[in-house]
């Protein structure tokens, strides 16, 4: 891919009208031997300082690929970004040179991964791995960087940090490992933190601890947080706004209270309806029919139409745009009014 790349780093300080991070009409394709997988098909979202955006979706919906594109950690090839912008403080990251990108990655936009055990290097101590951030990006000496690592481990509330700094990842429990991941990601005070399913591998009690820790860190530093998850409960707990993804598109985007009160897309509605509720005991749960689509061969028109109870003829042919419902809310369904009013067709 030939692009004019620049070394101009994103500005610091005031934001003006520009959001902190804006993904604009992003497309990501993977060229494989079986064909072209269109993983992300025109995703747009923004996140501001101190704001929490939850990206909700099932496996294969493109939520993690979008995050990897923001971080610039997609393997290219096979991945290709044919279209779109990722603007961080007004600068399009996709146009930056690789050196400039490295300056942003980890320092100003950081990421937490789902499986902390495989994300950490098993042959280095956790202290070494955390302090690496300071050595590489800040050029600190080994001993200074190690001191900072202990401070960070304290900050993410790892008990007896000074004694444990020389332990290896396998000596920690799952929750503690995730804390170490968080310590690494916040080491350089990033402005945006992307958390990709940070608690999926953890027990609910530990999940509650980690989510509380993230919320506290966010309050202290006013980071923008992109929380990628499939858990409707976690989203309801912490998100300010939600983007629901399906087959590489955002199908609904709204402030958190609106979406739980009255979803405006049949897929969101189906997800919310399939949560077991107390008064449904002994009855069948509502289940979304059918299977998630094959990304090699997406359905025509609206990707959700084969599973949709609201389907009409034009859904099979016309791709619905993200209709604006209000200033902060959108739904990619031709019949969002009916869904919002709750009339099953």
């Amino acid at each position: 891919m030939k692009k004019t790349s620049t070394n101009v780093l994103p500005a610091e300080g005031g934001l003006g009208d520009e959001p902190l991070l804006a993904v604009d009409d992003l497309h990501v394709e993977f060229h494989t031997r079986a064909g072209t997988v269109r993983a992300v098909n025109g995703v747009s979202y923004t996140v501001g300082p101190g704001e929490t955006l939850a990206v909700l979706g099932e496996s294969g919906s493109g939520k993690s690929v979008t995050a990897q594109a923001i971080m610039g950690i997609l393997d290219m090839p096979p991945a290709v970004i044919p279209k779109g912008q990722i603007r961080f403080r007004g600068t399009d990251l996709l146009k930056l040179s690789e050196e400039a990108r490295t300056q942003v990655r980890g320092q100003r936009i950081a990421m937490i991964f789902q499986d902390a055990l495989s994300a950490l290097n098993p042959v280095f101590t956790v202290g070494w791995q955390i302090s690496e951030m300071f050595r590489v990006h800040r050029g600190m000496s080994k001993s200074d960087a190690m001191k900072k690592a202990v401070e960070l481990m304290d900050r993410v509330r790892i008990p007896a940090a000074r004694q444990r700094v020389n332990d290896y990842p396998h000596q920690f429990s799952g929750g503690m490992r995730q804390r170490i991941m968080i310590a690494m990601s916040i080491a350089l005070d990033p402005e945006v933190l992307i958390a990709d399913e940070p608690t999926t591998a953890l027990d609910v009690t530990v999940q509650a601890q980690i989510m509380e820790l993230l919320a506290e860190l966010q309050r202290e530093s006013q980071m923008g947080l992109i929380l990628i998850t499939h858990d409707l409960g976690v989203v309801a707990d912490v998100a300010d706004k939600i983007a629901v993804m399906y087959a590489g598109r955002i199908v609904e985007q709204a402030p958190v209270y609106d979406i739980y009160k009255a979803p405006a897309h049949p897929y969101t509605k189906g997800l919310l309806d399939s949560i077991p509720r107390v008064d449904q005991k002994g009855q069948d749960l509502y289940a979304i029919k059918g299977l998630p689509p094959n990304l090699l061969d997406l359905p025509t028109g609206c990707s959700f139409h084969p599973r949709c109870p609201y389907r009409q003829d034009n859904c099979v042919t016309d791709v619905p745009p993200l209709y604006e419902i209000s200033g902060t809310r959108g739904s990619a369904c031709h019949y969002w009014r009916e869904v919002l009013d709750g009339d099953q067709q």
């Binding site: 099932e58 496996s59 008990p159 429990s173 799952g174 929750g175 503690m176 027990d203 609910v204 009690t205 530990v206 999940q207 509650a208 601890q209 989510m211 509380e212 499939h230 858990d231 409707l232 409960g233 976690v234 989203v235 309801a236 707990d237 998100a239 958190v256 209270y257 739980y260 009160k261 189906g270 997800l271 919310l272 399939s274 949560i275 077991p276 509720r277 107390v278 449904q280 005991k281 069948d284 749960l285 509502y286 289940a287 979304i288 299977l291 998630p292």
Partner: protein, 338 residues
Amino acid sequence: MATSSERILEVRDLVKHFPLTQGILFKKQIGAIKAVDGVSFDLNKGETLGIVGESGCGKSTLAKVLMALERPTSGSVKINGRDIAKARGGELKRMRRNIQMVMQDPYTSLNPRMTVGDIIGEPYEIHTEVAPKGDRRKKVQELLEVVGLNPDHINRYPHQFSGGQRQRIGIARGLALQPEIIVCDEPVSALDVSIQAQVINLLERLQNEFNLAYIFIAHDLSVVRHISDRVGVMYLGKFVELGKDTEIYDRPAHPYTQALLSAVPVPDPEGREQRERIILQGDPPSPANPPSGCRFRTRCWKAQEICAQEEPLLQIRPGTGHESACHFAETHDVVHVG
């Protein structure tokens, strides 16, 4: 409660310790992982017992001991009055027909080199008396139909199916020998949200159709509530609370149950700032060296001296209608899950 004549499974004082050894040539035991440490419960025909608890609390070991895949250190597992833990050879094989398992991960629990027909039909190879050779194909096709798959797909391989469909294959395999008990170890946790509801509905339909008894192990508390008649809460190898679903969820008496329930995020943002949240500190202690007395006392906000000295028994406590293992058991409606 059902009468004892319908009782199908009786578990008494079940203990499973895994020895910790030291030395290569002369192995000497230096301790034991107390994975399951004194569990007792009953299960009736057509009933579902949900088992919840954090990872490492012994849920999956319990399932393996029930299936006689692991021999218990002590205690008994009686199926229709006969102890599977003591059964050997032909008797064990016959008893195993009656208790089958659905595994957590439909991606690794199906052999990728076998066709669906071979996978579901394999139990008939071992228990040849259930279906004579000529009938097997027809039986497998019937099973595929029962779990909502196309009977014509009998010659396909697991990779040609999605996660939800694979879990249906796993369920069909569990049903092949017409067992009375099915142990489901996290049957939906590997599936996408929109597919979970389909599989839960299927499990419920099969239960009604065949009067199956389920041991349903899961960490998703709202799913457990939906499917279970009774729920047992496990902590470090023991039940800390056991009762009907409404008792456990609406009137939990043990502090651990209360903390567990309050940690579950409620899928409704309304009033999220006011919600009561008990956040446990730290991780569960090691099952190799559990705390004295009550095992939960190291993380409990109610702990007093007596908790370190005297182990609370699982019994009905004053003021509560169901069994709990806490000296200071007190019902407290924490949150409504789901």
